[in-house]
Structures are given as structure tokens and as C-alpha cells.
Symmetry: C2
Subunit: 255 residues, 2 copies
């Protein structure tokens, strides 16, 4: 039995909501006033979980590990968070952070800025890519989307097309960051430890051999290309794809 009760009457039925959604929007009561004061807080739990995720990935943000680092037993956390899933939702929302301020005049420049900032956020918090995506927007998540949609709305597109374009850019930032994580740039590879370097090299050699012996030469050729030898981020896959998407949107806007 959790202490969570809703005092103010909310029109929607909170029971049918996915775990964590109501909590993320702060729609749950923190509990009554009788009884001992909580020794900790949801914010503290999320902060510790973020630390763990930063250090060892999303799998390390487990209830036992968070509890151990705080100094309580595992199930004491259930006084603050109703389930693991809720913790993850709150964790992810916090990791999104606030969207960047976007310039007013040029929608294209603003959209590009938005995309690059999101891409960078995914790079700096790689485990955010491992959080399963749902459509249920959380506050920070929604603020990002709202910023982009506001900018794209200035093109005169219909609202639904605006949303589609926003999804396109969100998707690209996410996928690009995932790709970057898995295929590190030469600079990143140099910073990596020997084991990781060996693993990357082993995969490349192995895959090239397999692809060619299976007559998949087009892929093999593309993978051998100097893209993987280039250090400059401006020429990488993310920027290339971003330019194509923005070109496509621009062509649509001009009809």
C-alpha cells in the first residue's frame, strides 16, 4: 500500500495511465502528513540513479544498487517510487533537461540547432538511448518537442505535418547518436582502452570478410570508405542526414 493518493480531483482516470506518467507530471500526492518525515526524496533517488547510469549504463540503475548507494534497503525505495518502471521514466525525463532557446527568424537554422543539441544530449547521456521509447510525453520531453514545433509552425505547415517533421528530426538525432556510439570516430577510438580498440578492429575485420564471402560487396565497400577515417564531425553521418531532412522539409514548405 503506497502513500500516494490524489486529493484534487483530476478528470482523467489515473489508474489506466502507464506507470510513471502521472508521477513525471507531478500529479501524485506526496502523501499525508502523519508519520515520520521521509529521510530521503524522489529527487535524491533519481540523482543517484543518474550517477549509476552515467557510470555503468542503464542496467546499473537498479533498485538494489540505488538503495545501497543511498544507504537504505532495497524496498525502502518503494516508499518513493511505485515501481522500477516509474523510476526509469523519471530518470529519463530528468536526463532530457531543458530545451535550448531557439532563434526566431530562420526556422531552418533553429531546427538544425535543436537537432544538434538533442544529438549532443544523447551523446553525453548514451544510456538515454536504451530507455524504451513510448509516446507518453513527460515534461522535459514535451518541452523539447514544443520548442521545435513552435519553430516549425512558422513555416505555415499544417499542425499534423509539423508534428511529423518534428518526429523526423527527433528520430534522426536519436538514431545518429546510437550510430555514433556504436561506430566511434577515430578520435574516440584513440581515447578508448585497448580492449575496446581490439574489439572494434576485430568486428571490422570479421565483418568485411563475411560480407565479401557472402557477395554483399556494396555494404562492405561502403563500410571501408574513409568516412571512418575522418575526424571532422561536420562531415559525419548525422550532419549529412540532417541536411537531407531539412532540404526535404524546405522543399515541402515551398510546395
Amino acid at each position: 500500500m503506497t502513500p500516494r493518493k490524489s486529493h484534487d480531483p483530476v478528470p482523467a482516470d489515473l489508474e489506466a495511465l502507464p506507470p510513471g506518467l502521472a508521477a513525471a507530471w507531478g500529479v501524485v500526492d506526496t502523501g499525508g502528513r502523519r508519520g515520520p518525515k521521509p529521510a530521503h526524496s524522489v529527487e535524491k533517488i533519481i540523482a543517484v540513479a543518474t550517477e549509476l547510469a552515467d557510470e555503468e549504463g542503464i542496467a546499473a540503475a537498479s533498485l538494489p544498487k540505488v538503495a545501497a548507494r543511498i544507504g537504505v534497503t532495497t524496498n525502502a525505495l518503494y516508499r518513493y517510487v511505485s515501481s522500477k518502471e516509474e523510476l526509469i521514466v523519471l530518470l529519463a525525463d530528468r536526463a532530457w533537461g531543458d530545451p535550448p532557446a531557439l532563434p526566431d527568424g530562420d526556422w531552418r537554422e533553429a531546427a538544425a540547432l535543436w537537432s544538434r543539441r538533442l544529438f549532443e544530449r544523447f551523446i553525453s547521456r548514451p544510456w538515454l538511448l536504451d530507455v524504451p521509447t513510448t509516446v507518453s510525453l513527460t515534461p522535459h520531453n514535451a518541452a523539447w518537442l514544443n520548442a521545435l514545433i513552435t519553430v516549425l509552425g512558422s513555416t505555415g505547415m499544417a499542425a499534423q505535418q509539423t508534428l511529423n517533421c518534428a518526429y523526423l528530426l527527433d528520430s534522426h538525432a536519436r538514431y545518429g547518436a546510437n550510430l555514433r556510439r556504436n561506430t566511434p570516430t577515430p578520435a574516440a577510438l584513440r581515447r578508448a582502452n585497448p580492449d575496446q580498440q581490439r574489439a572494434v578492429r576485430a568486428v571490422r575485420v570479421f565483418l568485411d570478410g563475411q560480407l565479401r564471402s557472402h557477395n554483399l560487396n556494396a555494404v562492405a565497400d561502403a563500410m571501408e570508405d574513409p568516412m571512418f577515417l575522418s575526424d571532422e564531425p561536420p562531415l559525419d553521418g548525422f550532419e549529412f542526414g540532417l541536411a537531407r531532412i531539412l532540404d526535404g522539409i524546405e522543399a515541402y514548405v515551398r510546395r
Copy 2:
């Protein structure tokens, strides 16, 4: 100690490879010939795991459940598969299946066909979206990519740009399918069970209220748009985004 040994000398060091990669390409020996014949096979295990994933999602493709359905103990599976991760890799590769045959003449039409087929595959096997993405290509995976790259290569783009474009389309199919899964069309919603319908409705009502009370009206407006009331797939977000991406690529090809 597994029975897996490599007899033919492979230049790459298989030890450094991520789990499942060598197995997916069939580079591991099936074991010696002494001893009892295996009562089962990797193919059978993957088929059963696929059944389970189709029925209850990727989480249901666990070793205990697969073993129970086959009629063996859990760890007997370790005679066929070296780890859970390897099973998932093999499962995912099998789910990709063979790429469609693509027409020769029009690269744009071929790329669109490729994207739609991939999108449909993700729709029919939603759990494939839950398999964490790595760059390590597996045979079917690579065959899909090879087919698309071959087509895109006819535009005369540099190999690295070809690969980038392919990633763009792959990303879009994946993200679009994920979006479709989370925001079902009205037709799909009608087919859903009452609980699911109630959940979807609850989320929409709740989110709309929260977005507006947080002054995130741009998102709220876009979400209320008749897009969600339209049944026709050709007008949905996936097709819209696909057209924009292809437009962007076409503009680049024509320089």
C-alpha cells in the same frame, strides 16, 4: 565449457567479437561427432523463441520459457546457444528475413519500396524494435542493407553518402513503426481490447490537460489534429516522412 571450437583458421580473432556475431554468420563449429546426437537444434530453439516473442513480446523469449516449451531444462539450451545475448542476436537476424527484390530502373521507387517493406516487417514483428541495435551486421540484416545500398549506388553518390542515406531510411522505418505501435490508428484501436482502448483514451485526456496547463500548447494542438482520426495509411506520418527524406536525397543527387 561449450563444445564450440573453430576448426578452420579464421583470420579475425573470434574472442573479441560481440556475443552472437560469429554464430549468426555460421562461423562456429557445431561440435565434434562423438557423443549422443543432439535431441534438438539451434533452429528449433530460435523458432520457439520467435513464437514466444510473437505471442508475448521480447521479454517472453527467455531461456526458461523456451526450454519449458521445448521440454528440456533451462540449461540444456546452453549446449546450443552460448548466452542469452546470442539467442537474441540469432532471433533478430531470423526475424529480418530476406529483403524484397527491388526494381532496377527508378532508384527512388526502389528505395520507397524497401522502406515500406521494412516498415511492414517492424509492424508485423514489433518486438524486433525492442532488440537493442548494434552496428554489427548479421546476415539478413546485411542483405537488406546491401539491397538498398546497391540501389542508391546507381545515383552516383559517394559510397559514404550512400551508407548515410541508407541509415536515414532504416532509421525512419524503425522509428515510424515504433510510433505506429504506440499511437495506434483508429482502425487498430477499434480492434484492441477494452482495457487498451481505455488506456489510450486516458493518456490522451491526461496529456492534453497537462500540456495545456504547462503552456505547451504547440504540442497539444498538434496532437489533437485529425491525423489521429484518419484511417488511411498513405497519409500517415511514415509516408510523409519518407517523402521528405526521399526529396532531400533527390535534391542532393541532383546537386
